[in-house]
């Protein structure tokens, strides 16, 4: 009896030591979880989640300070991926942070732009080129559609243009094989 308890105790101590040692030995630098979360976030940097950019939101999720359903650009799919990564149940998007919109890019009406540089300062990804008193232009390929440049513009010359579908961007739609629909049309 005593021997058994002794053996168990020794075993426990040994395992504890191994665990402790490996924790020190294999300690991972930084916060890889935040990194992984950040990789899922769409990098729009729009701040709709309530944090100043995707990275801070990722860190907040990693620390358990924010919920996973606050990113409208990521949509339901983003929530699903986050839930999968964190091993929690997916939940519907929190509407108070906004709803997903079709992907758009900003467009500056160059006739109206007064070259105030306010939008340049607001753009989180430096997607606006121009200088003081020069008309500004959006570099469409780099614009994330975050809409942060809209409010600062004093003459309201920036508008969001949904990305039009053209041949190179066209993709197949989900083929709907809803048995119910099919048969209903047949019956009708």
């Amino acid at each position: 009896m005593l021997a058994a308890i002794g053996v168990m105790a020794i075993l426990a101590v040994a395992i504890g030591l191994v665990l402790g040692w490996s924790a020190i030995r294999f300690k991972v630098e930084g916060n890889p979880l935040a990194e992984k979360i950040d990789a899922i976030l769409p990098q729009t940097q729009c701040g709709q989640c309530g944090f100043p950019g995707c990275r801070p939101y990722a860190e907040a999720i990693a620390k358990g300070e924010a919920d996973i359903n606050q990113c409208p650009p990521g949509g339901e799919e983003g929530v699903k991926k986050l839930a999968e990564l964190l091993g929690v149940e997916p939940k519907p998007l929190d509407e108070t942070h906004g709803t997903p919109k079709p992907k758009s890019v900003a467009f500056i009406d160059e006739n109206t732009c007064i070259g105030c540089t306010l939008c340049i300062q607001a753009c989180p990804v430096d997607a606006i080129s121009g200088a003081a008193k020069q008309m500004h232009t959006i570099i469409t390929a780099e614009c994330t559609g975050c809409e942060l440049c809209l409010p600062p513009c004093p003459v309201d010359c920036i508008s969001m243009v949904p990305i039009a579908e053209d041949l190179p961007h066209w993709k197949w739609k989900h083929p709907v094989v809803m048995m119910k629909q099919i048969a209903e049309t047949e019956d009708a």
């Binding site: 119910k180 047949e186 019956d187």
Partner: protein
């Protein structure tokens, strides 16, 4: 809708219709050797299955027409009916069919979604819940003194007033039951086999029945509606396991040919284990599935609490299908698993 714009003529309805057609020789033999009672069971199961299917489709918001027309409910009903004792009471048949269609099929998502073979779920539920009623097998005409007519069978099935003596004269233990009871009484296989129910292979009448199902199964194979892997592996699984046991101790374990031709094996091999929805899909997976089901059938027959194990074996293997499929993915064209042929 995009390409292709032409289709082969085969449809689900056709596939199911061929399965039903392939069962006909078996049913005919059944009637010939065991009397017309099975027709009552079949009709009752069919009507119940169709009604249940229609009700479930309606409840789930699907239109009944295309799904009733696919005949899959009838296939389930017939397979269940052919597995049940030929004189099982009406409420047993209805309960089993309802369970198969409502729970095993529709609660799992309907056609194509069920992970378990519906007919076998129905059978398993019955044999677990009503073991006594599940022994009402009519004996082969050859051995019984009283032969029931269609009307008499119906009376028996619907619980009508049938003299106890008539019933006793008609029902008989199946060969598997007989073997099991005999072995439990410490008799050797050879001693048990002197019982008149044992024929040349699997029991008087039953061996012909097995032959008829085998014939139907070969027809399905010739039409490429079933693949050769599952039946062959299933039969091989039974034959090998039984052969090994019999070789080990012929006194305690029945001979392999007996196990092959015992009731339900041929039906199971060609019609039940080959159910595509709940079976494995890859060629190697089908072999594993069949072998596993064969082995489990023998294991349950030998050591389990029930005389026959086909239903449980297939249900257990159904459970393993995702795993089997995942680990038996075949090499693709130009795939690296094996060096490309040169």
């Amino acid at each position: 809708m995009a390409s292709p714009f032409i289709l082969d003529r085969t449809s689900v309805t056709q596939v199911m219709a061929w399965v039903l057609a392939a069962l006909l020789p078996g049913i005919a033999t059944y009637v010939w050797l065991f009397g017309p009672g099975i027709l009552v069971t079949l009709s009752l199961a069919t009507v119940t299955a169709l009604a249940a299917e229609a009700a479930m489709l309606k409840a789930r918001g699907y239109p009944a027409k295309p799904f009733l027309a696919d005949l899959s409910a009838i296939v389930t009903a017939w397979l269940l009916a052919l597995s049940l004792p030929s004189l099982a009471p009406w409420w047993l048949i209805i309960t089993g069919t309802l369970f198969a269609i409502v729970v095993a099929k529709h609660l799992y998502g309907g056609l194509g979604q069920n992970i378990f073979n519906p007919a076998m779920v129905g059978y398993a539920v019955l044999i677990v819940s009503f073991p006594v009623q599940m022994t009402h097998w009519a004996g082969p005409n050859e051995l019984t003194s009283v032969h029931l007519t269609l009307a008499q069978s119906a009376t028996v099935i619907f619980g009508g007033d049938v003299p106890r003596t008539t019933l006793d004269a008609v029902t008989m233990a199946t060969p598997l039951d007989a073997l099991r009871t005999g072995l439990l009484q410490q008799l050797t296989v050879d001693e048990v086999m002197t019982h008149p129910i044992f024929g040349h292979y699997g029991g008087v009448g039953f061996e012909w029945l097995a032959g008829a199902f085998l014939l139907g199964g070969l027809l399905l194979w010739a039409l490429r509606i079933i693949s050769w892997q599952v039946p062959l592996a299933f039969l091989a699984g039974i034959w090998l396991t039984a052969g090994f046991l019999n070789f080990y101790d012929a006194g305690r374990f029945g001979p392999p040919w007996f196990h092959l031709f015992a009731p339900s094996v041929m039906l199971g091999a060609f019609f039940i284990a080959t159910d595509p929805v709940s079976g494995a899909t890859t060629p190697r997976g089908k072999l594993v599935f069949g072998l596993g089901a064969g082995f489990l059938t023998m294991a349950i027959r030998t050591w389990g609490g029930f005389p026959d194990g086909v239903a449980f074996a297939i249900l257990l293997m159904n459970l393993c299908v995702p795993l089997i499929d995942q680990y038996t993915q075949p090499r693709i064209y130009g795939g690296a698993d094996k060096e490309p042929r040169t």
